[in-house]
């Protein structure tokens, strides 16, 4: 069984640690650095089930879709 004196010291150490924890502070500043984005890195638009990471295929699809905006090619 723990002696009353040891118990007193243990409680004191715990209280000391608890009080001391109030002095610590998590940094709340942003990690912004000049000329460097702090944003999360997004997915690549071709990394999905449709294009399976094939950038060329994705770019080709978009290019043909953009080309389709030219009505001279569609009508005349």
């Amino acid at each position: 069984m723990m002696k009353p004196l040891n118990l007193f010291f243990a409680a004191g150490a715990f209280a000391f640690a608890f009080v001391l924890s109030g002095c610590g502070e998590t940094p709340q500043t942003n990690v912004a650095k000049a000329g460097q984005s702090a944003a999360k890195e997004g997915d690549k638009p071709y990394q999905n089930d449709q294009f399976k990471g094939n950038r060329e295929e994705w770019a080709k699809t978009l290019r043909s879709r953009a080309d389709n905006q030219n009505e001279y090619k569609r009508v005349n």
């Binding site: 984005s37 944003a39 997004g42 978009l62 953009a66």
Partner: protein, 217 residues
């Protein structure tokens, strides 16, 4: 490498606001926020009235990126300027820096409190997982990852608003100007994609086509 760009042909825009509606509908944009809007110059002046559809131009050297105090902007490998709403503090610096008035701030409560900045994403979502619910709620639909172009341009009935790879767009525009023989000026193009020279004046990108004098009407 693709360089995503918008082009608005003022000769064709009929101020129908179809692009505005398409954008609002596609991304469930709240009341008071307009990622895209149509501006009309010389309204009512016969022969001089021109309308232009304006949104984020995804500038080559974007001023919003330069002034953001928390660096929440980033540019994709295709030149689309996006931002991270988890970092944005809604300070409004980007709004003052943008020459096109693209950044929008939703009203977030009483006393004029404004929320995090919202702007056109070129239908490319944000940093969250593509097509996820979180991305949809924060940034709207990610059409680019589905192999589609922005809804505004695809919806445009007169094809005044074009979107896509810069090379394809300049080919379309060049052919258009050659056929009609006028209207080679592109509003906002030099501001968004031109580069300042040594003296700080913007240098125009290569003109799509010269106006042939014989075809002028």
């Amino acid at each position: 490498m693709a360089r995503m760009k918008f082009i608005c042909d003022a000769e064709r825009c009929i101020e129908c606001n179809g692009c505005v509606t398409a954008c609002k509908n596609e991304h469930d944009i709240p009341w008071g926020v307009n990622r895209r809007r149509v501006v009309t110059l010389n309204d009512g002046v016969v022969g001089a009235e021109r309308s232009i559809s304006v949104a984020c131009m995804h500038c080559s050297d974007a001023p919003c990126m330069a002034v953001c105090p928390v660096n929440c902007f980033y540019k994709t490998e295709d030149g689309v300027v996006l931002h991270d709403k988890d970092l944005c503090i809604g300070c409004g610096y980007c709004f003052y820096a943008c020459p096109f008035g693209a950044p929008q701030f939703p009203s977030a409560g009483a006393f004029g409190v404004r929320g995090k900045m919202d702007k056109c994403t070129f239908c490319a979502g944000g940093p969250e997982k593509d097509g996820s619910k979180a991305e949809n709620e924060k940034y709207g639909r990610n059409r680019l990852s589905e192999g589609k172009l922005p809804a505004c341009a695809e919806m445009c009935s007169t094809k005044a608003l074009l979107a896509g790879d810069g090379d394809v767009l300049s080919d379309i525009y060049r052919e258009r100007v050659m056929r009609r023989g006028r209207g080679g000026d592109l509003w906002g193009h030099a501001t968004a994609y031109g580069r300042p020279d040594a003296k700080g004046a913007p240098v125009l990108p290569a003109a799509p086509a010269a106006q042939p004098a014989a075809q002028k009407s």
